[in-house]
Amino acid sequence: AASANVQYALKELISDFGKKSGCEGVKTVVASSGKLTAQIERGAPYHIFLSADMKYPLYLYRKGFTVEKPRVYAIGVLVIWSMKGIPLREKGPMVLLSDDVKRIAMPNPRNAPYGRAAREYLSRIGLFDKVRKKIIYGESVSQTSQYIFKKLVDVGFTAKSVVLSPRMKGKGTWIEVDRSKYSPIKQGVVLLKKGEKNRCATGFYRYLFTPDAKKILSRFGYITDEQN
């Protein structure tokens, strides 16, 4: 099971892992972290849970559904993205204050880590209260990305993995925001008790921390431990 925003990278990881280990056809189930957590709690037959943050894996760990403590397999990177030609590169984040920007999308901070990061970032640079009225909340990173991509909003916050995804690559303009102005978006993974006995599951879990995997992850816009 994996939360939505890791799935592009996940596809590559799985095929790479498949080639190397012979575990073909690792199946993925994609939903939001909250739903997956609720399901796992009730005995969903998942082996590994790749979350978009640490909260959900920790929750499951505390409740005793995991084999060991959650580990960080990647750190997400927040970007501001626009399809409407807002001069992000030139003016930086302050462009959000301009009248050209009427609507700003961000994932909902209540349940999406990228949303929390975006809000924290805006508060730290003192913009949050000023742009509050312009904000539209997307349910998830991907919905927020849709809002941006469909030009329903002028700019928006999303994950770097989105703008680097095969479909979005090269569309619009985006900038990374100052990484020191928000707490790192640690993406946690846990090996679930149901997967403890499964050779492929444990194999894949271990594979996630190999350099091969890290290379793929960083290609998709994640920061992995070494670079940190």
Binding site: S32, S33, G34, K35, R110, I136, Y137, E139, Q143, Q146
Partner: protein
């Protein structure tokens, strides 16, 4: 416990359900009337089109609505040209989305209600010089109360519970488009089960209260004959 945002959200929810139901009743009536009393070649096609919004997952329907309503979309452009602003991420947009999504829930029961009226009643009204409209209001509608009730209850309850479309085209703006179903969803996602339960409970109680009143009043007027 019941902070201001909570109350605001609940209120917004019932406002949306109420407005949607009212609009759908008046929008659904002519369509259902037409489908029940006219026979034409392509009627099955029209009936199918009426049912189709149901087939799409609400979020997907919401997605297509976004495409349609976005300033670049056909409808969105038109609306923006006329009214000066877009419907997306506004309460009006939510109403539109709910209306589209719940359309079949109103039209179908009304249509089957219309077909259950004995034609001789309608003929009698016509020969008494009453226009179609007057016949509709005074003869047809009062004699299809169970179907009207079905349409209204299904639409109302469904609009309260619906969240896919709303989630898509609303943007969860507190006081404007953040209705209870979305609030509950968010709370569940955030693992705040207590608060989700509270929302659900309040929603449940208010709706249950409304429905019990409706059904009790209805029972007064149309007592079943124990057959």
């Amino acid at each position: 416990m019941f902070d201001q945002q909570f109350v605001e959200t609940i209120f917004l929810t019932f406002r949306l359900a109420f407005i949607t139901t009212v609009i759908l009743f008046f929008a659904g009536l002519p369509v259902a009337y037409f489908l029940a009393y006219k026979d034409f070649r392509f009627k099955p096609v029209v009936e199918t089109v009426v049912s189709l919004p149901l087939v799409l997952p609400p979020t997907v329907l919401g997605f297509y609505l976004i495409v349609l309503l976005s300033p670049e979309g056909f409808l969105g452009g038109l609306i923006e040209k006329i009214s000066g602003h877009s419907l997306l991420f506004t309460f009006e947009g939510l109403v539109l989305g709910s209306v589209v999504y719940s359309f079949p829930f109103m039209v179908h029961p009304l249509q089957s209600g219309f077909s259950s009226i004995p034609p001789s009643l309608i003929e009698a009204s016509y020969t008494l010089g009453k226009s179609r409209i007057e016949t509709l209001l005074k003869v047809i509608l009062p004699n299809m109360k169970p179907s009207i009730l079905t349409g209204i209850v299904l639409t109302f309850a469904h609009t309260i519970g619906e969240f896919g479309v709303v989630l898509m085209i609303g943007g969860s703006i507190p006081g404007e488009t953040k209705v209870a179903s979305i609030a509950i969803y968010e709370e569940v996602e955030a693992l705040n089960y207590d608060r989700a339960n509270l929302y659900a409970l309040v929603l449940f109680l208010i709706t249950a209260f409304i429905l019990i009143v409706v059904y009790t009043v209805n029972r007064r007027f149309t007592r079943a004959q124990n057959l």
